[in-house]
Structure formats: structure tokens, C-alpha cells
């Protein structure tokens, strides 16, 4: 990691932890004595952990587009699985599929991994070098993974690799 990236990451984390401390204590003035020590400790621990490959850069436009998409898809996912649980004859037709990933390894990929499990009918079961193993509740249903991958790429402001 480059020096600039390092400073950037430290500043990001410090701001996040200060905000969290304020959030927890409600900005009580007397809390900042313990707060300073705690935030310092949290920052030290966070920085001592192996860092992700590159500093996190989130595109504001991508974020604005992603939030409503994510909320809408979670709603659909919840309704879908609830409908299946309620239907007496249990309409399930599960399958495992392998999806060739176009996102580069790193935070964006982990983010994709976690969001996949929250979207309709998909559960990320395993990830290897360049494929994501996804469990589908219903193999007749389009898992819409390509669309999700594009959205995540937009969120992290990265371009997708070409499919080999």
C-alpha cells in the first residue's frame, strides 16, 4: 500500500470511529476522556490488522444508486422466500451454480459475496479464484447476478474484467 493510501485509510477510520463514539455516547462531554483512549485503541487495532489490497473508494453516485436497488431487492428476496415457506407444497427446486466472477479480488468481491446472500433466491456458498458458487432456491428463476455485479462495480468505482 502506498503512503498516501495509508494516510487516507487512517483518516477514514479515525473519522468513522469518532463518529461511532459520538453516536454511542450521544456527544456527552465527559465521555471524551475514556473516548479518546478507546478510539485510539480501536484505531491501533484496526491498523494492525492486514489491510485490504487497496484503500476503499466508494463512488457517491454509485452509493446513491445502490441503496434503493439493495433495499428493493432485499424486499423482493424476503417476500420470495416467505412465499415459498408459506406455500403448502413447498415450491423449491434448488441447484448449485458456478458464476464466473468479473470483479477483481478484494473488498468489492467480499461485498458482492455478502449481498448475494441477501438477494432473492441466492446464497453464496463458496468462492474460489474466479468463480462464485451460488446456491439457488429455484433454478428456474434468473438469479440476476450479472446485474448485481455491475451495481457493485459502480458502487466501488471499478471496471469489470473481461470474461475470458
Amino acid at each position: 500500500m502506498q503512503r498516501g493510501d495509508m494516510w487516507r485509510r487512517t483518516a477514514q477510520l479515525l473519522a468513522a470511529y469518532l463518529l461511532l463514539w459520538w453516536l454511542l455516547t450521544g456527544g456527552d462531554r465527559h465521555s471524551w476522556l475514556v473516548g479518546g483512549v478507546t478510539v485510539g485503541l480501536a484505531l491501533a487495532v484496526a491498523l494492525s490488522l492486514p489491510a485490504p489490497a487497496a484503500a476503499l473508494r466508494i463512488s457517491p453516485v454509485g452509493l446513491l444508486l445502490f441503496i434503493p436497488y439493495f433495499l428493493w431487492q432485499s424486499l423482493r428476496g424476503g417476500i420470495d422466500v416467505a412465499r415459498r415457506a408459506y406455500t403448502p407444497r413447498l415450491p423449491l427446486d434448488p441447484a448449485l451454480i458456478h458464476y464466473p466472477l468479473r470483479l477483481p479480488p478484494g473488498s468489492a468481491r467480499i461485498f458482492l459475496l455478502n449481498t448475494v446472500s441477501l438477494l432473492p433466491g441466492t446464497l453464496s456458498a463458496d468462492v474460489s479464484a474466479d468463480t462464485l458458487c451460488v446456491h439457488l432456491l429455484d433454478k428456474q428463476r434468473d438469479p440476476e447476478l450479472t446485474q448485481l455485479e455491475q451495481r457493485v462495480a459502480g458502487l466501488f468505482a471499478i471496471s469489470l474484467q473481461e470474461r475470458p
Binding site: L13, Y17, L20, W21, L24, T25, S31, L33, V34, G35, V37, T38, V39, L41, A42, L43, V45, A46, L49, P50, P52, S107, R109, I110, L113, N114, V127
Partner: protein, 325 residues
């Protein structure tokens, strides 16, 4: 409104009793552990309904996170449920009858004594609430529970730190520490979760510690949260570096006890009464002791997880070599 509340409490109590029974009767140890985790969860709810948020917070941290992890690791070391089943032993009819007889006689008599006591108790038992409230302004903290735990009855907490320390010492005398977790590659998703959760655990621990002065919280809850952080780090493959396993580890384990001891010695020398803090210093002293206790409790709980004394040398023993061969 009160109807729903009563129903909620009733169901909660019923569930707790059923769970307690089923988990004690469970022959499958793994099942018993999961039942115990669920029990802890509901118990935290029960403490909240009883308006004891300090205990609820402790139960939530210990029950939801630490005991579950501790028992799972313990089961891993124990081997299996199969192996723990007692061997069939020949018994005389009298021996076979002894357990049902004892339980059948003891339980009803204990229940009868408790019931009689319950009816003779005064209806409104205010306990020591008034006494604590009358002295709260001299305590150095605003939260009555913390005032009792660290000032009025500080010796209780002091001795509890000693008990925890002794517990870890006895664990150390049993076996050497082993890394209880799988050594295969750590999934990237777990590492990301750790990067996110570890600093958050520290922040929330700090928050709960500092809030102990005015509200529910304090050293024990904060220490347990930190311990959960240490356990999470261990789950992600982190280990105590060899240089830190000697004096430094022992200092961390005992600093809560020794800080208390020091405070007791100084106050004894100054005023003739151990742990009687001068009023203007009480707040700062309590905070100091709590910080030391927090770190101690965190390391003590995590040391219990390691399940044995530290092994400084990395040299493999004969058994290890035979196994890897």
C-alpha cells in the same frame, strides 16, 4: 397493554423452565450447548423484564457470545458425546433407588421451606435501596449499582477478581494451551467481518465502561466484550506473540486484582479502613480500578478459552512429531 406484558412474561418463564429442563436432560452435548445459548438469550430478556439492565447486559454478552464459544471449544477438546456417556456399572437395587429417593425427598422439602419463607417475607422488600441512595452522593459515581460494586462493597468485586484469577490458574495447572481452531485457510469473508467487528467491539466496550458511572454498564460487561474481541481475533488465526506470553501476559491477567490490592493497601495506610476512598478522589479511583479490571477480565476470559498454560517454546513435542509424521 398489561395483558400482553403478562402473557409475554408468562411465556418467557415457561420457555426458560422448559429449556433448562431439556438442556440438562440432553444426552447430545452439542444440542445441550445450543440450548444453553438460547437459554442465555432468553435469560437476558428476563433480566430486562425484571428491570435489572446491568445483569441483562452481562448476560447478553456472556450468554450470547462467550459461553457459547467457550463451550463449543470445550466440547472440541472433550471429544464426543459418545465418549462421555458413562459406562454401564452393576448396581444394587438400593443404589438404583437412592437417586429417585433423594430427589423425591429433597426437592419437595426444599420447595416447602422456600414457600414457607416466601410467605413470611414482608410484602415490600425495599432491600438496601434507601441506604444506597442516602450515601450515593459520596460514592464518586451516579449509578447505584456501580457505587455498590466498586465503592460500598468494593471488597466483593475485589475478591471476585481473585476468584477469576484463581480459576485461570487452575486451568493453567491442568494442561498446556492449544489453539482450538481449524488451521486451514481463513475465509476472506471472515477476515472482512473481523476488520469491521474488532474495532467496534473495542468502541462499544469503552462506551459500556465509561457509562458504568451513570448507568448500566461497567468493568465486567466491558471486559467480557473485549474478551469476545480477543476470541474473534483468535478465530481469525491471531495468536499471542511468543514475547508476550511471559511476564506481560501475567501482568495483564492480574492487573485488576493488583490495582484493587494497591488501592486497599493505600487506603488502609491512610485512613485505617481498606477500600475507603477519600470522597474527592472516589470517582477517579473507581475509573482507574475499572479500567484495570476491564483489561484483566478480558484476558482472563480469553485465557479460559485457550484452556491451559502458555507454551513459550515453539519446539514441537514428541507427540506432535509423531502425529505429523
Amino acid at each position: 397493554m398489561t395483558g400482553a406484558q403478562t402473557l409475554f412474561d408468562g411465556l418467557l418463564v415457561l420457555l426458560l423452565v422448559i429449556l433448562a429442563w431439556v438442556l440438562l436432560a440432553s444426552k447430545d452435548l452439542f444440542r445441550a450447548i445450543v440450548l444453553f445459548i438460547s437459554f442465555g438469550l432468553l435469560l437476558a430478556l428476563a433480566w430486562l423484564r425484571l428491570k435489572a439492565p446491568d445483569i441483562a447486559l452481562a448476560e447478553a454478552i456472556i450468554g450470547a457470545g462467550i459461553t457459547g464459544a467457550l463451550l463449543l471449544v470445550g466440547l472440541g477438546r472433550l471429544g464426543s458425546a459418545v465418549r462421555c456417556r458413562p459406562l454401564p456399572v452393576r448396581t444394587t437395587p438400593l443404589q438404583r433407588l437412592s437417586a429417585p429417593l433423594l430427589v423425591g425427598l429433597l426437592l419437595p422439602s426444599i420447595a416447602a421451606v422456600v414457600l414457607v419463607e416466601l410467605f413470611t417475607l414482608p410484602i415490600v422488600a425495599s432491600g438496601q435501596i434507601k441506604l444506597v441512595a442516602a450515601h450515593l452522593e459520596h460514592a464518586g459515581v451516579d449509578h447505584p449499582v456501580t457505587a455498590v460494586l466498586l465503592n460500598f462493597r468494593g471488597y466483593d468485586t475485589f475478591l471476585e477478581m481473585g476468584v477469576l484469577l484463581l480459576a485461570v490458574l487452575s486451568i493453567w495447572s491442568l494442561d498446556r494451551a492449544r489453539h482450538p481452531f481449524a488451521r486451514d485457510q481463513i475465509p476472506a469473508a471472515l477476515l472482512t467481518l473481523q476488520r469491521l467487528l474488532l474495532p467496534l467491539l473495542i468502541l462499544v466496550a469503552g462506551y459500556i465502561l465509561q457509562r458504568g458511572a451513570q448507568g448500566p454498564g461497567g468493568a465486567f460487561q466491558a471486559g467480557a466484550l473485549l474478551a469476545a474481541g480477543i476470541i474473534l481475533a483468535a478465530l481469525c488465526g491471531h495468536r499471542l506473540p511468543p514475547g508476550h506470553q511471559g511476564l506481560l501476559l501475567r501482568l495483564a491477567l492480574s492487573c485488576g486484582f493488583t490495582t484493587f490490592l494497591l488501592a486497599a493497601a493505600v487506603t488502609l495506610a491512610r485512613s485505617g479502613v481498606p477500600l475507603l476512598y477519600p470522597e474527592h478522589l472516589a470517582g477517579s479511583l473507581i475509573l482507574l480500578i475499572e479500567i484495570a479490571a476491564t483489561f484483566s477480565i478480558a484476558f482472563l476470559l480469553a485465557a479460559a478459552m485457550a484452556g491451559g498454560h502458555p507454551v513459550p517454546e515453539a519446539k514441537p513435542t514428541a507427540i506432535d512429531e509423531r502425529k505429523s509424521a
